[in-house]
Amino acid sequence: MADRAEYAARQAALLEALMRGDGYPAGFDSDRAGRAGSSLRRKRARAVRSAWPGLSAGLGPDFEARFDAFVRATGPPASDGGLVDGLAFVDWLGPGEDAGLTEPVRVELLLARAAVRRRRGADGFVRRRGAFVGAARLGDPPRLIVVIQAPGVGRRVGSVPLPRTGRPRPAAAKDGPEIDEAAG
């Protein structure tokens, strides 16, 4: 009788090591495992580039190295796909212009947060089925990008012009109130 729990643990250990590029289980060829792991990290990077063109453009030539470092540090994700991987990557980078949160990225971030939410009580993301209201304040020209989403209505994205105040603008988008399942 196969021991599924032990089998799962061995597969999980290999997956973790491949993503982190370190700690390969006994008996694996570390050179080949290193190549296989690089290939997994590059595949995730391609999916994020495709889902977050503003983010990859914002980080420019640093994108590959930063993303590689992110995967090595965090290992395999609980949810896959370029959209959620990019969201986790942005969280890992932290806020601020230096981390690549240019205005296009703040808009991508807003749309990604409208599309998915973190799982409750577990790692990973799930598709957002409830309502969402969020906004990102952009400075050039000064405006507020607003996303409103509700079941049965769909998603509306609007831009509201703001007066030029001369005050420093916030470095990162601020989420609006989440009303999620309450309205769903």
């Binding site: 599924r4 729990a5 799962a8 597969q11 290999l14 491949l18 080949r32 395999p76």
Partner: protein, 279 residues
């Protein structure tokens, strides 16, 4: 042992359907079937290109990438329902999935990873494949994957492992000649000799994809042209077997329509050369 379902479908020449080459596929002549990644399809909103394929009388084969049949957990019933719903929607003669795991311990690989070639892994695979077969509306074909990394302690080679899995489950075989070429090159064995030891009478269809040699390692990229060595395997296969269909996979760096047609023609010519060698 499960009773072997007979192979009744005939597919001919095929190409992996991707939105980026939708138009070229629709215009190409002599295409008998297309394969579509099932996870990208909402059965309630079939893309226009797939509806057009149906109108042209082409078969559509849903290709799953997320069942993780080689994983420790039984396949997720929701994923199985989705694959089955896509198969129903497109009137598929067969669906396919991989002999691989794509998640473990609640974490996603985002890629097809190999399983150990052991009796224990076979036992789990046989159970998982059986669950999938009982949930799906049409026969299931299983594809062996290309892998740079191999588990230690293999108890059999790939052809024997795949052969036993096919025999014990009654599943069909999706023979991927590029994966075979990649594994043979990277792990140092003779691809043509290994080819004849796969259960060729159980082939549902054949995959041919492009790849590239880098630092002595062959990468099965599906974003490069089909290599001569892989076309050589097409010829070898058709010299000894008559598979129901052969399909070109291209997933990235999409070629021009002319290049795509040239690749399809090269595969057909290699198959004809093989047929010509039969006694």
């Amino acid at each position: 042992m499960t009773a072997m379902p007979s192979i009744t479908h005939s597919l001919g020449r095929g190409v992996g359907w991707r939105p980026e080459i939708d138009g070229a596929i629709e215009r190409a002549e002599g295409i008998g079937f297309v394969e579509v990644v099932a996870e990208t399809i909402d059965p309630r909103r079939l893309p226009a290109g797939l509806r057009a394929a149906r109108e042209l009388g082409r078969a559509i084969v849903p290709h799953g990438i997320s069942l993780s049949l080689g994983g420790a957990d039984p396949p997720d019933p929701r994923r199985l329902r989705h694959l089955g719903a896509v198969a129903d929607r497109v009137g598929a003669p067969v669906v396919s999935e991989h002999i691989a795991f794509v998640r473990a311990g609640g974490r996603e690989a985002g890629h097809l990873l190999p399983v150990p070639r052991t009796a224990e892994a076979l036992e789990i695979l046989v159970e998982n494949v059986g669950l999938a077969q009982r949930a799906l509306p049409v026969p299931l074909a299983l594809e062996h994957v290309a892998c740079l990394v191999e588990w230690p302690g293999a108890e059999m080679d790939e052809a024997a492992f795949v052969g036993e899995l096919i025999e014990r489950t009654g599943a069909l075989l999706l023979l991927d000649l590029s994966n075979l070429y990649a594994n043979a090159h990277n792990h140092g064995y003779d691809a043509a000799a290994a080819l004849t030891r796969f259960p060729l009478d159980r082939i549902a269809y054949v995959h041919v994809g492009g790849g590239v040699l880098r630092d002595g390692v062959y990468h099965d990229t599906h974003s490069h042209p089909v290599q001569p060595g892989v076309l050589g395997l097409v010829e070898e296969l058709y010299a000894v077997a008559d598979p129901p269909g052969v399909l070109l996979e291209r997933d990235d760096d999409f070629p021009s329509e002319e290049e795509l047609l040239a690749e399809l023609a090269a595969i057909a010519e290699a198959a004809d050369r093989g047929r010509g060698r039969r006694g």
